[in-house]
C-alpha cells in the first residue's frame, strides 16, 4: 500500500510538472503572464509558509520583502548589472532585514507580532515612495530588462515563464530539503510547543530568527522575478495589501503544508481571472468563495485532503480493530 502510494505520488508529480512545461506552449501572452505571476507569488508564499506555517510566526511584512527584492532587481538591472547579482543582493538584504525584524518576534507573539510587522510594511512603502534618489519615488522604474539565462534571452513570454518555473523548481527543492532537515523539525517544534522545544535543547531564539530570515529571503527572491516580469515597478503594488494577499494564499492553500502555497497562489492569482466574466462582481464573488472555503475548512484546501485521509485511516484502523476484536472474542 505505502509503496504503491509512493509510486502513485511520484507519477502524479511527473504528470503535473510535465503539464506545467508542455501545456503553456500553446498559451497566448496573457495566459503565460498569469502563469508566470503564479510561479512568482508561489515563491513568496512559500517563504511566508515557512515563517507562519512551520515556525508559527505571523508576519504581515512579506509584501515588503517582495518589494525590496523587486527594487533591488529594478535598480541594479537598469544600471546594466546582471539579474544574478541583483538576486544575491536581494537575498542577503532580505535575510539580514528579516533577521533583525525577527527580534521583536522573540518578545511578542501572534497579533502583537502582526502589528510590529505591519509597521515595518508601512515603513518599507514610505521608503520606496519618498526616497526619490534611489527608487525614483512615485514615478517608479520603467524599462526593466529581462535576463539572459545561460545565453538564452527571456524577452519573449514563453522563455520568461520557463525561467520563473525553473526558479520555482529550484526553490521548491531547497524547501523540500529544508523542512526535512533537522532545521525543519526544529521549526515545527517551535510552532507546536516552544517551551518543550527549548527543554529539548533547541535554541528557540536562533530558530525563530532563522525562520524569519529565510522566509524573508524567499520574499526577496520572488521580488527579483517580479520586477522583470512586469518590467515596471512603482511603490503601490508593495503596500500592505500584497502582504495580506500572501497571508491569504498561505492560509487558503493550507498553512504548514508543503503544497499549500502552490494551491493558495493558484486561488489568489487565477480565481479572480476566471471570475472576471461576472464583470463588476468578480472581486465580491472571489471574497465570498474564500470565506466559504475557510468556513468549510479552516485549515485550507489541503486541510480538506488531510481530513479525508485521516478519516480513511481511522476507518481502516477501526475495521482492523473490529476484526481483531471478533477474533479475540472467538478465541476466548
Amino acid at each position: 500500500m505505502t509503496v504503491k502510494g509512493k509510486y502513485l505520488r511520484i507519477a502524479l508529480g511527473i504528470v503535473v510538472i510535465g503539464a506545467l512545461i508542455i501545456v503553456p506552449m500553446n498559451f497566448n501572452r496573457y495566459g503565460l503572464y498569469i502563469l508566470s505571476q503564479w510561479a512568482v507569488m508561489t515563491i513568496a508564499a512559500m517563504g511566508l509558509n515557512l515563517t507562519l506555517g512551520y515556525a508559527g510566526q505571523v508576519s504581515l511584512a512579506q509584501g515588503a520583502f517582495v518589494g525590496i527584492g523587486a527594487y533591488a532587481a529594478a535598480i541594479m538591472t537598469t544600471q546594466g548589472m546582471p539579474l544574478i547579482a541583483a538576486l544575491s543582493v536581494a537575498v542577503v538584504l532580505c535575510f539580514a532585514i528579516g533577521w533583525i525584524l525577527g527580534y521583536p518576534a522573540l518578545r511578542v507573539q501572534h497579533h502583537y507580532l502582526a502589528f510590529v510587522t505591519l509597521a515595518f510594511s508601512t515603513l518599507a512603502f514610505l521608503v520606496f515612495r519618498n526616497e526619490d534618489w534611489l527608487t525614483k519615488g512615485i514615478y517608479g522604474i520603467s524599462n526593466i530588462p529581462r535576463p539572459n539565462v545561460m545565453g538564452f534571452a527571456t524577452n519573449r513570454p514563453l522563455p520568461f515563464y520557463y525561467f520563473c518555473l525553473g526558479s520555482l523548481g529550484i526553490v521548491s527543492l531547497a524547501m523540500w530539503w529544508l523542512i526535512r532537515s533537522p532545521w525543519g523539525r526544529a521549526f515545527i517544534a517551535l510552532r507546536e510547543n516552544p517551551v518543550r522545544a527549548l527543554s529539548l535543547g533547541i535554541d528557540t531564539r536562533r530558530y525563530t530568527l532563522m525562520a524569519f530570515a529565510i522566509g524573508s529571503a524567499l520574499g526577496g527572491v520572488a521580488g527579483t522575478l517580479y520586477a522583470p516580469l512586469t518590467q515596471y515597478i512603482d511603490p503601490v503594488p508593495f503596500n500592505l495589501s500584497l502582504s495580506l494577499d500572501l497571508l491569504m494564499m498561505v492560509i487558503v492553500g493550507g498553512s504548514g503544508f508543503f503544497f499549500g502555497p502552490f494551491l493558495g497562489a493558484m486561488i489568489a492569482v487565477l480565481l479572480p481571472e476566471w471570475l472576471r466574466f461576472t464583470q463588476g462582481y468578480y472581486l465580491m464573488l472571489y471574497a465570498v468563495a474564500v470565506m466559504l472555503l475557510l468556513i468549510y475548512s479552516p485549515t485550507g484546501i489541503l486541510g480538506i485532503l488531510d481530513r479525508y485521509l485521516a478519516a480513511r485511516r481511522t476507518k481502516a484502523a477501526s475495521a482492523l480493530r473490529a476484526v481483531t476484536k471478533s477474533k479475540l472474542e472467538t478465541a476466548s
Binding site: 505571476q37 515596471y232 472576471r276
Partner: protein, 378 residues
C-alpha cells in the same frame, strides 16, 4: 407555394448573414481602475465611454457598424493592468482605451506599441508622451502644457514673488508639483514652502500652519477634490488671505459644494471640466447626470472624448483600419462644429499631446466665473 416560402426564408436568412458580415461590431477594449485607489477615476472614465458608445450606436453606429467595448479592471495596480492589457491585445481590438493612472500607462504602452494598436489613455504625467511612442494619445492636457499657464498667471496677474506649494503624494500630485517648481524657477518665484500631503488626508491644520509660517504671496494647491475642500476650509479657519491658485481640481464643482464659503476666491486653470462655459459641455453634463445620477469629474469627460476621437478618426479614414489609425490621428484637428461629440475643438500633435482651449476661473459667491479664456494655440 411551400417552396416559395422556403425560398423567401432562405433569401431573408442570406441577406441577414450578409448584413452581419458587413456590419460586424467594431471591438474596443478598455482597461481601467475599476477598483482600488483609482476607482473614482476608472469608473468615471468607464461611464463616459459607455455613454458615448450608446449615443453612437443609437444613431446607427460608426460607418454602419456597432461599437462594442469590453471593460477590464486593473485594480489600480500596474502589474494587473499589464495582464489585462495583454489579454485585451491578444483579442486584437481596434483601439485600446485606458488606463487612467500614469504608472499603469507606463507599463502598458510598450505592449500596445509593439502590437501596433493605438492607445487612448487618461494619464496626465508629463513624461508619458516624451518617449517617442507613436501609438499613445492623451485625452487631456499633460501637466507640461497646463502648469506653465498657471505659473504665468501667478507671475503676470498676481505678481507673486514667493509661493507655497501643497501637493498630494501620488504620481498625479508629484508630477504637477515637479513641473510647477521648474516653471516658478523660470520666473524667479521663490518656493517658500513645499508641502507633501497624503491622498485621503483629513486634517490639514499642521500643513496650513506651515504655510502661515512661510508667509507666501500665493498658495498653489494641487490635491484631489475632497482634500482640496478640506484644505480650503482650514485656510479660511486660520485666516490666510493670500490668493489660492490651483489647476482643474481646486475650482471644481465638487470642491465648491464641499467647501461652501471657504471656496470663494479660489482660482485656477481648468482644461477639461463639466463646468466649462461651453454649451456642448453643459449638454454632455445633463446627459451624464440623467444616465448615472451624479456629476462626472474630468475623467468622465475624458472617457467620452476618447470614443469620439475614435469616431472622428475612423470617419476621416473612411474605413476601420487599426494600422493607419495612429498615423491619421497625429496632426488631426477635430472641430466641434462637425463632430459635436468632441465638445471643444481639439488638435493632436506628433507626440499624441493635445491642444485645446482652457479657462482661468475664479470662485465668486459659490459659482465658477470664467475670468479669461485661454485660446487654442494653433
Amino acid at each position: 407555394m411551400k417552396s416559395g416560402i422556403f425560398a423567401a426564408l432562405l433569401l431573408v436568412a442570406m441577406s441577414a448573414s450578409g448584413a452581419f458580415a458587413q456590419g460586424a461590431p467594431i471591438k474596443l477594449a478598455d482597461v481601467a481602475e475599476l477598483s482600488g485607489g483609482g476607482a473614482t477615476v476608472g469608473n468615471n472614465w468607464k461611464n463616459g465611454i459607455d455613454l458615448a458608445i450608446e449615443e453612437i450606436n443609437a444613431k446607427g453606429g460608426l460607418l454602419g457598424r456597432k461599437l462594442e467595448v469590453t471593460h477590464a479592471d486593473s485594480q489600480s495596480n500596474p502589474g494587473v493592468a499589464r495582464a489585462q492589457v495583454q489579454k485585451a491585445l491578444d483579442n486584437e481590438p481596434y483601439v485600446l482605451l485606458g488606463p487612467g493612472y500614469s504608472g499603469s500607462v507606463k507599463v502598458t504602452s510598450p505592449l500596445a506599441a509593439e502590437a501596433g494598436i493605438t492607445q487612448i489613455m487618461g494619464g496626465e504625467a508629463a513624461e508619458l508622451t516624451q518617449g517617442g511612442n507613436k501609438f499613445l494619445f492623451r485625452t487631456s492636457f499633460g501637466q507640461q502644457s497646463s502648469m506653465p499657464k498657471v505659473a504665468k498667471y501667478v507671475n503676470d496677474e498676481l505678481k507673486a514673488k514667493s509661493v507655497a506649494i501643497v501637493w498630494v503624494n501620488n504620481d498625479f500630485g508629484k508630477g504637477g508639483r515637479d513641473v510647477m517648481t521648474k516653471e516658478f524657477a523660470k520666473y524667479n518665484i521663490k518656493v517658500a514652502a513645499d508641502i507633501s500631503t497624503e491622498a485621503g488626508q483629513a486634517d490639514f491644520a499642521a500643513d496650513v500652519s506651515k504655510i502661515k509660517a512661510a508667509a507666501p504671496d500665493a498658495v498653489f494647491i494641487y490635491l484631489n477634490e475632497e482634500e482640496s475642500a478640506r484644505i480650503l476650509k482650514e485656510l479660511k479657519r486660520q485666516a490666510i488671505a493670500v490668493p489660492l491658485v490651483g489647476e482643474t481640481t481646486l475650482v471644481g464643482q465638487k470642491v465648491v459644494e464641499l467647501a461652501g464659503d471657504a471656496a470663494n476666491g479660489a482660482r485656477g486653470h481648468v482644461g477639461l471640466t463639466t463646468d466649462a462655459p461651453v454649451d456642448l459641455v453643459k449638454a454632455f453634463r445633463e446627459k451624464f447626470v440623467k444616465k448615472y445620477n451624479y456629476v462626472p469629474d474630468h475623467n468622465g469627460l475624458k472617457g467620452y472624448l476618447a470614443i469620439y476621437m475614435v469616431k472622428a478618426t475612423t470617419e476621416k479614414m473612411g474605413k476601420v483600419d487599426a494600422k493607419k489609425f495612429a498615423d491619421t490621428l497625429h496632426g488631426l484637428t477635430i472641430k466641434a462644429a462637425s463632430e459635436p461629440g468632441i465638445l471643444m475643438d481639439v488638435t493632436f500633435d506628433e507626440k499624441g499631446d493635445i491642444d485645446r482651449q482652457g479657462f482661468l476661473v475664479e470662485i465668486v459667491e459659490g459659482k465658477q466665473v470664467v475670468k479669461q479664456v485661454l485660446p487654442k494655440l494653433n
